[in-house]
Amino acid sequence: MNDTPLLELRHISLRLDGRQVLRDVELILSPGEIHVLLGANGSGKSTLAYLVMGCGGYRPENGELLFGGLSIAELPIHERARLGISLAWQEPARFEGLTVAEYLALGSPSRSAAECLDRVGLPHQEYLSRMADKTLSGGERKRVELAALLALGPKLAILDEPTAGVDMLSLGEIIAVVESFRETGSTVLLITHQEELAAHADRASQLCGGRIVFSGPPEEVVAHYKARLCRRCDGETCHG
């Protein structure tokens, strides 16, 4: 693994609608790393994902956001994407008039759409011609989203709660998908509230009350997460 960080969040804070959502976040991902970000609902996990991706309204009020050593805090989403960051949304948007094949061809994909669909458990013979609209179930759409990121092969793949929802990938399937990202050299930031996923990561962090309260080897983070799972704290009580 290269020692130069791929992604660095240094003292990042973010306020949304007057509420402090992220507090002094410190998070570092190395190239090729599989990093699980654990946290309860409302802990700020998705907010962190949107902030890294550059979504509207998710601009840090202070701190540094670096990608490959380059400050990206001022860059719009598509420029971050072109640097190699991409995101699989927890609840992906649907697109009328766009087939799954066309959706997977967006950007500059490095892998075949058929192969990527098969990897997420969607037979390509059936799904390539389907529309990426509301005719797909929630689970199917999420799988398509993962397949799209696999096809894109970004340097940093942010997967926001890939196991959440009905008809979603099983634990074994999502682990296989994450391994597919690893094969292509992608770094993965896997956002989840399921600690079982951390066992297959290189490192993990726990987010609580908008603050990273523990980072380290997955087994230690999971132990901390299980012991100190708090729902609505400010992150301070989770330290230690």
């Binding site: 991706m53 979504c55 509207g56 719009p76 989403i77 598509h78 971050r80 994407a81 072109r82 960051i85 991409s86 995101l87 949304w89 992906p92 948007a93 697109f95 009328e96 008039g97 766009l98 967006l106 950007g107 500059s108 799209a148 894109l152």
Partner: protein
């Protein structure tokens, strides 16, 4: 025949093969302005068209039980800067007949012109018609297009209609479709229009579900940008037991564009049910951000989203 050459060119530009349309096994009516260029019947599809100084008058009769394999082509156009084209169309489909009708309306040349279509269509019991009307306009914004259709679906008949005007400036568009849907019959009307500049769009489509278990769907997809305006009226009436109807309007506005959508429903039978949904707004933010997260610029993302909606 400079106009005929232009017609051929225009068909080529929209991906149609004029040779195929005019081939001996293709039923068709081809006219520019008030001149009839070609008409052809095939077994089971009788076409009689005539040109008068008032316009083109065409009658198409599809025989009972006839399954027409190749699309029937209606090809209308104007290849002068100014002009008028009036078309009166009567289509009668016999029982259990099945056909696809493609209407190509080529108006990329005129600066100021009017195209009016008055259609009367009767779809016999168990018959099925797939009707596609696609308009191709130029950049002048001086076109006026006035399509009118009165359609009757008899017991068990099926109609799938798709109207699109997404190429070039619309100019002024005033659509008025009125469909009576009989017992166990199905009608789906889809309209897709993209307005720019100072285009004015009015879509009025009405489905009357008169027969038991009649089914109907009105689906409109309209996008406007610049100072374009659109008024979308989708009316569905459920007047019989088991009738089911739905009106689905989705419209996107950009710049100073204005759209009003009025999905109207009326039910006069206690066992009928009609639903509606309408969404008007700017381009969806999450859709934008999803596409931008794949590397598309904001402009490319809008193009994709609007293009998909109007596809």
């Amino acid at each position: 025949m400079a106009d005929l050459e232009q017609l051929y060119q225009a068909l080529g530009m929209i991906g149609e093969d004029p040779g195929r349309i005019l081939s001996s096994d293709s039923a068709h009516v081809v006219a520019y302005g008030h001149q009839l260029v070609s008409q052809q019947s095939i077994p089971g599809v009788l076409i009689t068209a005539q040109a008068t100084d008032k316009g083109i008058k065409a009658k198409i009769i599809i025989a009972e039980g006839r399954q027409v394999e190749q699309p029937i082509h209606l090809c209308f156009g104007l290849f002068k800067r100014f002009g008028v084209q009036n078309v009166a169309l009567e289509l009668i489909m016999g029982a259990n007949a099945k056909a696809t009708l493609w209407s190509h309306c080529l108006f990329s040349v005129p600066d100021v012109a009017r195209h009016a279509m008055d259609a009367v269509i009767r779809i016999g019991p168990g018959a099925e018609l797939r009707y596609q009307e696609a308009h191709y306009h130029g950049a002048s914004g001086g076109m006026e297009v006035v399509p009118r259709a009165r359609i009757e679906l008899e017991r068990g008949a099926r109609l799938f209609s798709d109207f699109s005007l997404v190429t070039g400036m619309v100019g002024k568009l005033d659509v008025d479709f009125d469909v009576n849907v009989g017992e166990n019959a199905v009608a789906e009307l889809t309209s897709k229009v993209f307005g720019h500049g100072t285009d004015k769009i009015r879509l009025k489509e009405r489905l009357v579900l008169v027969g038991r278990n009649a089914r109907g769907l009105i689906k409109s997809r309209v996008a406007v940008e610049d100072d374009a305006r659109a008024e979308v009226i989708g009316i569905t009436e459920g007047n019989a037991a088991g009738a089911r109807g739905h009106v689905d309007c989705t419209e996107i506005i950009k710049d100073r564009g204005v759209v009003s959508a009025s999905p109207r429903v009326k039910v006069t039978h206690p066992e009928a049910k009609v639903t509606h949904e309408a969404a008007i707004g700017s381009v969806d933010r999450q859709q934008m951000e999803t596409l931008m997260a794949r590397g598309l610029t904001p402009e490319e993302a809008v193009y994709r989203i609007v293009g998909g909606l109007l596809r």
